[in-house]
Amino acid sequence: MQGLVKASQPNSNEVQLGIKQMKIRLLTGLLTLLMPAMVMAGEYGLTVDRVKIDTGDFVKEGIGYNGASPGPVMRFKEGENVKINVTNNLDEMTSIHWHGLILPFDQDGVPGISFPGIKPGETFTYEFPIQQAGTYWFHSHSGFQEPDGAYGAIVIEPEGREPFRYDREYVVQLTDKHPHSGDRIMRNLKMMPDYYNREQQTVGEFFSDVSENGLMNTVRDRMAWGDMRMMKADVEDLQGFTGLINGKGPDQNWTGIFEPGERIRLRFINSSAMTYFDIRIPGLDMTVVQADGNNVQPVSVDEFRIGVAETYDVIVRPKDEQAYTIFAESMGRSGYARATLAPEEGMEAAVPKLREAARLTMADMGGMPGMDHGSMAGMDHGNMDMGSSEGVSGMDHSNMGSMDHSNMKGMDHSNMKGMDHSDMSGMDHGSMVMGKEGPSDPFYAKGSGLVPTAANGGKFLSYADLKAQDPLYEDREPTREIELRLTGNMERYTWSINGVKYEDADPIRLKYGERVRFKFVNETMMTHPMHLHGMWSILDVGAGQWNPIKHTVSVNPGTTVYMETEVDEPGQWAFHCHLSYHAAAGMFRKVIVEGGPESTQAKTEVIAEDGGEV
């Protein structure tokens, strides 16, 4: 909180205004007179600074706010008008985006879409009303400043009471701090998309798969993956990070203090550039009460997965005089973050070992064009015994060596259509972790290798569990549907929507007042957290009027996810995958809302060209 300036008292102008009115409109009643003075107006200051970041594993230079990364926790009150002075002490352009906040588009902080950006040495003043409550966060929307450390938390206290109770609360903000700068990571990924992928399958693994599954199966499997421009282990395309919680590495062990028996609200925020985390606190149930700042009907879980840019608020109640570990394993199990809840500083609990890495399966590429879903579903699992030794001995190895992979670069869909599915049916599904008794979740492809399970065998949160506590919008038929295929070519590290990257794409045009149904079809092998700025994403979990509203919707490989948006904010907005390097590679769109209240239109023309990077 250091350096956070807060002036929550009403400013003198408003008090004087109140006095004037008292003279003029003496008879209008005390309440009216008090109104202007009662509107809270907080003034806050943030400086954008070069800072040192120490993860315990390495020290690097980065970017922070008010001299530190993460920046301060900004605490607002619903109904307050905030004024935030942001001073850029960098020698490059900067910006701050208030992630998840509903505000006028010119305060949204996306250079080139909301405003030109903040020049070095300049102070930009954001001003907007706080119209919501909950846990959110803020971050730079310029270049790779956010992965470099430019992020912080936002906590908004509601006007009324919370629909739950707790004795104390902590922000638990996660990130995946990498020793390399964002610019360098992007360069490396562009040059060699598997640069940071340590989990690649090895030659040794190939031969062990051969002995287990038979050569033909193994070769077919690898060939199919090669066609996809993906490697089977591409759960995470950025490994080698240290997981941080509130800026502390696992050994630095951020600790939240509690008294046994207290209810503690933990506000989890995933501010990672690229990493999804599976979070658990061994020994404690977690009751999820909020997702993306919006209250949900409470659901008790043993573990949950938090996508990049999502937030989840949970309530825990440690009853014993002991320490508990908050353990956040990355989805691909290449790293973790760790913190502690304890009755006193210095106490620790056991830190679990990382579980075995998840492996993508054929099901996860079920969304790829040209794949025949029907025939896959119809596969006879009973006939999986292809791995006979005769098959191996009968193979001509020399032919394999001549396989020309370079021809696949063009990703010829027509060739893929020609894939012989009858052969696929002979594939040994056992080797692909496609077990029929495996865990299932409607938001993962059937048979997906990514379906999470709780370490203790208990309940793992699914999107399907999220129901709005108090629906913000009335349920109604959408006026139209917009299909957005999430596309990419891993070989060239290009990421796009409908096959077109941001620079080459026309904006998505919406009409003020309509309700649009977005259909996300993930045709890649990676999970994409899709973030629409400025307007809520009503996630279709099949609960009708109880569908939860979010700001970030995670779309798993090989799945189709629907969300609806009430187009109730004029202006122009960003809409993108929140994985930093996917957004930068082009999985990004500008959304233009046409129509709406007069006063808010046309200003979009003012936005200058400079600072146009996003």
Partner: protein, 175 residues
């Protein structure tokens, strides 16, 4: 207040009292929450409103041995419970309530009454008719007449999954 209704309720209470005592499993261990009260002994009425997901009031004060009529109103838009018991009793009841959700008995703002009466085997059902509690749909109101016994760690609570855990409980203080 309709006296005959209360009498009928009283009979129902006594019928399931045995099952209740077994479920509570605390009577003999000094952690009793009290017993079904007699309408004739009601000393006062306390109105408890249920919202999503909290009570108003969130604490009450009673005398040991006092019989209280609770008028419980569900003013929320979800199903809620008012249940008097010790934390341990609530915890074991939460498992039953979880089963009710899993079987579709409790569906957000609705109760499936057919399902509640269904025979679950071994004479069990999901009627939810213990005398120390009521389970209400939005807009419903019902009464609980309860005689508090000795002092103890007693809470009124909603054991719909997640509700107690997120703070839908109230404290019973003894004078």
């Amino acid at each position: 207040m309709n006296v005959s209704k209360l009498l009928v309720a009283g009979v129902a209470f006594s019928m399931s009292a045995g099952a209740f005592a077994a479920g509570a499993h605390g009577g003999g261990h000094g952690a009793s929450s009290g017993e079904p009260g007699k309408a004739s002994e009601v000393a006062r009425t306390i109105t408890v409103e249920m919202y999503d997901n909290y009570y108003e009031p969130e604490e009450i004060t009673v005398k040991p041995g006092e019989t209280v009529r609770f008028v419980v109103e569900n003013k929320g838009s979800l199903v809620h419970e008012f249940n008097i018991g010790t934390p341990a009793m609530h915890e074991s009841h939460q498992k039953e309530m979880m089963m009710m959700v899993e079987h579709g008995v409790i569906q957000g703002g609705k109760l499936n009454h057919d399902m509640m009466n269904m025979d679950m085997g071994n004479g069990h059902s999901m009627k939810h008719d213990d005398p120390n509690s009521v389970l209400l749909e939005p807009g419903q109101s019902k009464e609980v007449v309860w005689k508090f016994s000795d002092k103890g760690n007693i809470e009124f609570a909603c054991n719909v999954p997640g509700h107690y855990q997120s703070g839908m409980y109230g404290d019973v203080n003894f004078e």
